[in-house]
Symmetry: C2
Subunit: 108 residues, 2 copies
DNA sequence: CAACTATTTGGCTATTATACCAAACAGGCA
DNA sequence: TGCCTGTTTGGTATAATAGCCAAATAGTTG
């Protein structure tokens, strides 16, 4: 794999990796319904505020979400809703995995 | 976040995380053109065979690829081509990030 | 069966990620 | 200004990941 190809896949991986954490997926899912501030998300997630804040900055650095400060709060929103298309495929992989397991059990 | 919701997002994250590595993305990209064996992929990637094999098992465990042994070789192939839909969105995030950066530079 | 090729597994180290706490910072308001 | 609320940053301990080498395993062929 040459340098240029490697960089291309590194750039892609950085974005996908940012989505590869349950809390961050939850955040993306929440923001698909509209912007929310850190405190709202923290309440829903039930982790330390600093933890949630760091997850948000990872998503932001990847370019998946954007922030806007209004008063005391920082509101986060989805920058490109197309990331939601991940969910559809992921669900079908999960479904397919279940079917696969059932087939294995049947054989036994 | 309740137990059930957490588990749902953990299951999703496992699959996305499996794609969140440059080498594994490259593998998925390659397999989109048809099955390939470990040695072929190793040659293209230029890493240790054991490293490639481990990446393959991560993708396999996630249910993204499947393997089939034929003779001495193990052939891997994409199990659900819908994962390729990730690429389209990822590219648009990357494009959007570039545009964002240009806008920042213009302001300066 | 022995030698060979292809792949996986185990072991080790270096790096990266995650979570929490505490402290810093920022805006709004008495 | 001083205090309150909301958010980010720094420090740190722990866990997870990635890579290579060496060794084990599996199938092929002489």
């Amino acid at each position: 794999m040459d340098m240029k190809t490697r960089q291309k896949f590194e750039a892609r991986a950085r974005i996908i990796k940012a989505m590869g954490h349950p809390t961050r997926l939850f955040i993306v899912d929440q923001l698909s319904q509209g912007e929310q501030c850190v405190r709202e998300l923290t309440d829903l997630i039930g982790a330390d505020t600093s933890t949630v804040s760091k997850h948000l900055s990872i998503l932001k650095d990847a370019g998946i979400i954007s922030d806007e400060k209004r008063g005391l709060q920082v509101y986060y929103s989805l920058r490109l809703p197309c990331v939601l298309s991940f969910f559809g495929c992921v669900e079908s992989v999960l479904q397919s995995n279940i079917e696969q397991q059932l087939r294995v059990i049947e054989k036994e």
